[in-house]
Amino acid sequence: MGQGSGFVFKIDKGMLSDTSYILTNNHVVEGADKIRVTFQDGRELEAKITGADPKSDIAILEIEDSEHLALPMGNSANLEVGEWVVAVGNPFGLSHTLTVGVVSAKGRSGLGINDYEDFIQTDAAINPGNSGGPLLNLDGEVVGINTAIFSRSGGYMGVGFAIPVNLAKNIADQLIDSGEVTRGYLGIVIQNMTPELAESFDIDEKKGILVAQVSEDSPAEKAGLKVGDLIVRYQGEKITEVADFRNRVALTPPGTASNLTVIRNGKRKVINVNIGTLEDGQVAASASTGTADELGLTVQTLTADLARQFDAKAGQGVVVTEVKPGSVAAMAGIRNGTVILQVNKMDVNSIADFQRAVKKRSGDKRVLLLVSDRGMSRYVVLSWR
């Protein structure tokens, strides 16, 4: 038996009966056989799941009732760091507990809680049982869904995370309309631009999203997006963070004609792309050995067997078979099985290619690698003294 929180999100007045939709976290109701919701006035009703989306941790329940008003939705994009917020929920089963705090930060991602993250961080006390409850502004509008806490004790430590309501609302509306969530898909693997990468690519832009891989037959490939393109705008809006860009693409309805502003070879270019549909399990997208002592790497040509083993393509890249502990490669997170596709933007398909390319730039004591780990590509700059 588990417990959590939720709130009336929407009411549908029907001919025979009314339905109230309750918004909560997927992890509160996942795997449930029986769900009961209790209002502050003590009324207890049985609920059923309308739809759930584990990727964003949002679920919608329905009850046959329309006694209570749906909470008004705010605009989480307008939230400011430092703004007062209020959390209402049932920590440890203590019903309708209100705690207050401020917005500590916005756009938190990379926490590893959900596939799609863009959390509001708050110091309003959130504890086990608060999950699914609303985070509200002082106008009583929902601005977030309390979802997670950072804790070493299991309880409140001043760092809580809420899903922004703009994201939750989009998902919830889709769940009510169709019972499932459809996400937009581009078919690229991306990474944040860093000053080091910008220097290696010889571009002035220090912010943006670098395309590290373009999937075959994907909307991105059809639109002409290329590895090494730096995406700086999506639908005319400035893009600086991978998580934000990923969320925006995912929330774009499939079939939408979108545009990306990219920097390619130092020139700005607008690329029109038709957003595709993200399917389940889809991701945006080697035998003799040779060494590169400067980097602390030993590599091997990708044979068909090795390619299968490392989720790569035979003849495209070299696979790392040994990383010297403490070397620049080890410090950059390269490990056995990492496939090196390019060195300084040149394809390396054999050990000879690899060694030649590294040697060519060893005077600079810096190389730019395009590497792939389990099918996911990224750029890495290695520099040494």
């Binding site: 417990q3 009961r36 209020v86 089963g93 997670a148 806490i149 070493r152």
Partner: protein
């Protein structure tokens, strides 16, 4: 205190209440602001609490007739004891979903 000294300090003594008056005003303003904030919180509580629900979930565990971790006294007792130690996630997990 001589008359000369008294005459010297008199203007300062007369001005003191005037100088301290704004401090009182600031203090009163601060408390008034806090009262306003407190009213705002109370108003949010009043407006939203009726639409917030407490969710209780039951799932049938299949294939385990009895385990030492199950309460022989029913779910409620088990629930209370588990709830205090973060039910779903182990304590040493640094970031956890906070479901009950």
């Amino acid at each position: 205190m001589s008359h000369r000294k008294l005459l010297f300090f008199l203007p300062f003594l007369l001005c003191f209440p005037l100088l301290s008056a704004p401090l009182h005003a600031v203090e009163d303003g601060g408390i008034a602001n806090l009262r306003q904030t407190s009213k705002a919180f109370a108003s949010v509580a009043r407006e939203v609490s009726p639409s917030v629900v407490f969710i209780q979930v039951e799932s049938v565990q299949k294939g385990i007739p009895f385990s030492p971790f199950q309460s022989p006294f029913g779910d409620d007792l088990l629930n209370v004891s588990l709830a205090t130690v973060s039910p779903v996630f182990p304590i040493n997990v640094s970031i956890s979903r906070n479901a009950g």
